[in-house]
Every structure is written in C-alpha cells, then in structure tokens.
C-alpha cells in the first residue's frame, strides 16, 4: 500500500489525544486542537520537561505508561519521539472515562438561584469557622434546575474540607464555550472553584459520590475543589 500521498496532518490535528512538537529550545513548533485546550491547564514547560525526561535514548519513539492528571484531563501513557536534534514530539493518551450511570431524578430538580444556595452554605460555614473568605460570583447567572437538598449537602461537605484553611477563595462562573451532554442534551456548565492554601481530604470520597449522584463533575486537588455543575434549564 502506498501511503506517501496521504496527508496525515489532519488526522493528528483532529486527534482527541494531545500532540505537541517542540524545537530543541522547548518552543512549540506545532500543536493539535486537543493540546490547545490542555495548555489552558498546564504550562508548556511542564509538558516539554516530561517529553525530555521520557525521551528514548536514541532517535526513535518510546511509549511509557504513566499517570498524568491535569484538572479534567487524565492521561495514562505518552509517546515521545525524535528523529533529529532539532525537534521532539510528545503525544498524550487520554484515559477512557466511565460514562456516568446515574439517571437524573428529574422530580428532584427545582429551578434554583445557585447564588442563594451558595450564600446559605457560606452562612452555615461561618457559624462554625472564622476563616477569611473571598467570594467572586456572577450574580447574572440564570436560575437553573438543581436537586436543592443533595446539592446543599455537597456544598456543605465541600466547604467543610476548608475548615482549617487560612483563607479561602471562592468563585462561581459560567464556563464559556464548554458544554456537557446529559441525557442527549447539550448543557452549559457553571464552575464553582474553591481554593485555599490547603484543605482536609478526609471527606473526598463522600464528596465524589455525592457529586456523581447529582451529575456534577468534581475535581479534588490538594488545595482546591472544583465543581462543574450542568446548567439544566428544562
């Protein structure tokens, strides 16, 4: 089979796995679409350093199984290759995700102003803690459907992990251009980001379970928790 006439570039361009080509100084020569989104969450230096660290000893390609986690991106392997001294490439392999098996309990969803739930939970948090809090919220967020009771539990438990943090920064905003498919419908995403200098991780499993039950994606990190809440309108 003659393959020389085939232009492979679009295949790489539209590959869901990030692919980046660096020059010998670590500057990006080429990156595909998936990489552009990835660089919103990780620096190019970090990826370049990984490429160099896992490069094959001689010219050629080497695939290494390793676990990388950048926010919502989880990779289980990388392939690093170089054919000359000028450039080095890295391809990161997305870990397949389990599709959520939770069916939405529509009866429990009530149109709610999320800011009210957040304010109420912060008032509850303040009855037990005196840590300084900063809150940056979008008051224009439209009301959307939430399981008020379960979401409040999730918020309470999430905030509780910051009970001893020196100061806590909370932001609530609409993620522009990002969507999630829920029961065949494309829904916008509201992101609640809580970060501090550190936090307890003792309730992470409960938080994860509660988030899954309410169709919320949660990212539990060492000093922050991010909740991606689907903005279900009807």
């Amino acid at each position: 089979m003659n393959t020389t006439s085939i232009n492979f570039k679009p295949f790489i361009e539209w590959d869901n796995n990030p692919f980046i080509l660096f020059n010998y100084q670590g500057k990006i020569i080429y990156l595909n679409n998936a990489s552009e989104i990835l660089f919103g969450y990780v620096s190019k230096k970090e990826i370049y350093d990984i490429a160099v660290a896992y490069a094959p000893q001689n010219f050629g390609y080497k695939t290494t199984a390793l676990s990388l986690n950048y926010d919502s991106f989880i990779f289980h392997a990388i392939t690093v290759g170089y054919e000359d001294e000028e450039s080095i490439s890295i391809r990161l392999y997305n870990t397949p995700r389990n599709r959520p098996i939770h069916k939405i309990q529509k009866d429990n969803l009530i149109v709610t102003d999320i800011n009210i739930l957040l304010e109420a939970n912060l008032a509850l948090f303040r009855t037990k803690n005196t840590n300084p809090l900063t809150l940056l919220t979008d008051q224009d967020l439209p009301a959307f459907k939430i399981d008020q009771n379960s979401f409040s539990k999730l918020l309470r438990k999430t905030l509780h992990t910051f009970r001893a943090s020196a100061s806590i920064d909370i932001s609530l905003k609409l993620l522009f251009g990002q969507y999630v498919i829920i029961e065949g419908r494309k829904e916008a995403i509201v992101e609640l980001d809580i970060s501090a200098n550190g936090r307890y991780v003792d309730r992470d499993k409960e938080i994860d379970t509660l988030a899954q039950d309410t169709n919320i994606r949660c990212f539990l990190k060492e000093s922050s928790i991010k909740l991606e809440i689907p903005l279900i309108r009807d």
């Binding site: 009530i110 739930l117 109420a120 008032a123 509850l124 009855t127 008020q148 009771n149 409040s152 539990k153």
Partner: protein
C-alpha cells in the same frame, strides 16, 4: 408569631442561612442543648410549618406524607430515623443531641449547631429581663423591691433553670407570713419522721431568723436585744447552726 431575639453572631448566621433557604426544599437540623430556643427559632422563621414531635414515629411519617413544610422537634427521640424520606420537603428538625453524626450528616443538607445560653451572655440578660417581668406580673410583686443584679441565676438547664431561679427569687418577696407558714406546714407534713424532729425542724425557722438578724443588726448584742433573748443563748445557737 413566635418572636426570637439574639445578639449572637453564630445564631445570626443561622438565621441568615435559614432566611436564604426558607423558600427552598432542603432539610435542615438545629442541634443544641435543651431549652436554648431551637424550637422558637424554627417557629419564628417558619410560622406556618406543621409541627410534630419526634417521640411519635408514626405521626412524623404521616406528617411527611401530608405536608411540604414541617418542623420535627426532638428528632433524637425517633425510633427509626433512616426510614424517613426528607427529599423535596422543607424539613426543619431540632435535636438536643445527635446519636449518630454520620447519619445526620447524610440525612440533612444544613446541619446547624446552636450555642447554649451560657455562650450567649447578652442573650442571657435579654431572656432574664423577660422572665423577671413575667414573674413580677404573675406574682404581683413591685419592681422597685427587686435588685436584678442580686438574682442568683441558674443556667444548668438553660432557659428552664434560668426561669425557675428568677421565679424562686421573686417569689421570696411575694409571700406573707401566712403563705410562708403554709409552705413550712407542707414541708414538715411531707418530711417529718425519725426521733429528732423537733430540733431538726426548729432549725428551719431559727437559722434564717438568726442569719437575717445578724445581717440586719450587725452585732450579737443588738440582735439579742431585738430578739429578746439572752446573749449567751444567742451565741450558743450561732455556734450550733455554724453561722459565720
């Protein structure tokens, strides 16, 4: 409508949180010692809620079927908490203590811990004033007789013991000799027994007589004259009753 007063920041935050969620369908629980105002607070914020006590499991279960807004008092008394379905209801529970904190954590969206009266000094003064006014009116005692700072308040059982201690204090100013005699009569009638009754119960009268007399007249000499008894007899009784 139930009124509720507090200067406690903690309780103000609880009220704020409740006010924000009062139109939402979330389950909340207020936990704290007995007689600190949990039920009053819940009734103050949710005046139209159906109120049911946790000492009757079946009533609570049927209330949850019939009403969307319910106050469950004494939640700790429920025989089976896990069978209750609190989803999509506006439930406000109150409990004096929590048996299983994990269960409470899973059942309720908002878990509030209400501080006791002892932790709310300004609230004590406010509640104390209310009880003093109530006692003065009930017992028909003139306010000018009472020195409110001299009332020894008891907070061991929060508002209940506080109210009792205030009533007992003011009661002392409301009784005439006949009523005091009646009280002594009842006490002696209920308790008189043994073989040393005369001496034992005479002390009920003699001890306060000498204590009050000494306080009022200062010296034993003057008191013996007022009482019309021999100074040595008085001294002997002071020693006998161990009065300083």
């Amino acid at each position: 409508m139930e009124t509720f007063f507090t200067t406690s920041d903690k309780i103000h935050n609880i009220i704020k949180s409740f006010n924000l969620t009062k139109r939402l369908f979330v389950s909340s629980i207020i936990i704290g010692e007995a007689n600190i105002g949990k039920k009053s607070l819940a009734k103050h914020i949710f005046p139209n809620a159906f109120v049911v006590s946790g000492d009757n499991q079946k009533k609570v279960e049927s209330a949850l079927e019939d009403y969307d807004e319910i106050i469950i008092t004494d939640f700790e008394k429920l025989t089976n908490q896990t069978t209750l379905n609190l989803d999509n209801k506006r439930v406000i529970a109150t409990a004096n203590y929590i048996g299983n904190s994990g269960r409470i954590d899973d059942m309720f969206a908002f878990v509030y811990n209400m501080p006791s009266l002892l932790e709310r000094p300004k609230d004590i003064e406010y509640v104390k004033d209310i009880f003093i006014k109530k006692a003065l009116s009930t017992l028909s005692v003139d306010e000018s007789i009472i020195d409110r700072d001299k009332i020894a308040i008891n907070l061991s059982n929060n508002s209940k013991s506080l109210e009792k201690s205030i009533f007992l204090h003011i009661l002392k100013f409301s009784m005439d000799s006949e009523e005091i005699e009646d009280i002594l009569y009842n006490h002696i009638y209920e308790n008189l027994d043994g073989n040393d009754g005369y001496k034992q119960y005479l002390a009920l009268y003699e001890r306060p007589l000498i204590k009050a007399g000494l306080k009022k007249f200062g010296s034993q000499l003057q008191l013996s004259q007022v009482l019309g008894i021999n100074r040595n007899t008085l001294r002997k009784k002071i020693y006998e009753y161990d009065i300083n």
